[in-house]
Symmetry: C2
Subunit: 233 residues, 2 copies
DNA sequence: GCTTTTGTTTAGACGTATCTAAATCATGTT
DNA sequence: AACATGATTTAGATACGTCTAAACAAAAGC
């Protein structure tokens, strides 16, 4: 009943919906790479199966069951991505497509063993949180989009979200990976942000829509003697 | 065009056909767990697609393309089985079902990396040969079915073919795995063969149809001083 | 050789997943 | 308030993969 395709629709709707705003047919169609009538047919079926709340012309929102389904696939996807990088030498730009297929075909047992082998990791190779076995997910609150940082901010890359393989390769070549320290040196008024990569001292300019998907948190290491103060705060 | 289902049909036909005897509809139906009309429809489609030679009422035989397809899936299947045992702690009774699903969803790249990680292995956890990247397969000529061994034969288990998870678990519990040395102590006239397992000294009786799927080869280690003679022969 | 049995194929159906073309709804504009 | 625009849904089609029931062919039995 929950086929691989349904699982992909669940993931799309999960990403597109918001607390109060449902995912609209056209958005889902774009995300899934299909035409709107295909989405309409699918949403009707998923509504019949209790996976989404759907009313014609009003878009769809996941039910509790639908959300569980989405989180299960997301868990499989992210564990796979990490498994491929850690165990099979993939890099973070290659893993997505492979995981997008395999995510639908893992037994419970295999997921558990992969998770155990990786040591119950919290995040995938892009810093995205991995839902736990009971499908809890904790988004990181202390991070912020690079696109919203002020000039002069120094911060550490903690997540790169929703990016294409091309963007991910480019970032890697520019010296950016999880944990890289950046300093925002300029925010131009025409949608461009320039950072200095701390490891290489090289400047790097990015369009805002790319920067918007890069999340950073405050620098990891306060100087030795400041450590205590930080923990007390 | 070659969907996962088609791949499974290719595998079934590969196992069932013989040089001159095609795989018959009923056999394929039994192997695939479907009804005969389903097979007829499928064989017609596969014939249209150039995967089998098919004439009504005469069964099907793989074309060259079909055989390549079958070997590709077999390669994926067996590499996966070995990967699951070597890297994820599965045992030989558990791997089949998992591999039977995943075998259809591996990219070329992933297969290559798995093969490299395993060191281009020759056989899977059941001793079945793994087709090479260019889809060559070399069946082991020097082995023989346990069911055909004479009383008194001493030999080493080199393959356990086509066996259910139950049989594989039973054999494992009885101390039989690849490389186990067996001595045939009795062949009863009513379809039963009794062996002694050399490691445990325990006797083990098996029905002929089970023994028929166990293949053995001559004992691996000639005594140290006989080694040279053996290689010269 | 005719007949029965057995295995195979055809006919007609259903669910999944997709499309195009046409009809319909919702909304923002005049 | 009527209209035009754009998004959405319905209608009707196709491919895959399966089923049941009915028609048919081949082999075996007499
Ligand atoms: Mn997917
Ligand atoms: Mn990811
Ligand atoms: Mn399979
Ligand atoms: Mn095997």
């Amino acid at each position: 009943m929950v086929t691989p395709k349904v699982e992909d629709y669940l993931k799309s709707i999960y990403r597109l919906q918001d607390r109060d705003t449902p995912a609209m047919t056209a958005e889902v169609a774009a995300a899934m790479g299909v035409k709107p009538p295909t989405v309409t047919a699918m949403l009707q079926r998923m509504a019949d199966d209790g996976l989404v709340h759907y009313q014609r012309y009003q878009g769809a929102q996941l039910t509790d069951r639908g959300e569980k389904g989405a989180l299960k696939v997301l868990r499989n996807h992210r564990l796979l991505e990490l498994f491929l990088t850690e165990e099979l030498g993939y890099d973070w730009a290659e893993v997505h497509d492979e995981a997008d297929v395999l995510e639908h075909h893992l037994s419970e047992t295999l997921v558990e063993r992969i998770e155990a082998l990786l040591g119950s990791p919290a995040v995938d190779p892009h810093g995205e949180p991995i839902p736990t076995a009971d499908l809890e997910i904790r988004e990181c609150e202390t991070q912020q989009s690079l696109a919203k940082c002020q000039e002069g901010t120094v911060a550490v890359v903690s997540e790169v979200r929703e990016s294409s393989a091309d963007v991910l390769s480019y970032l890697a070549k520019a010296g950016i990976s999880l944990g890289t320290e950046l300093e925002v040196v300029e925010t131009a008024p025409f949608g461009m942000i320039t950072c200095k990569v701390r490891t290489t001292e090289k400047p790097l300019s990015l369009p805002t829509d790319v920067a918007a998907e890069i999340y950073v948190s405050r620098p990891a290491e306060p100087a030795e003697n400041e450590r205590r103060e930080y923990n007390e705060a």
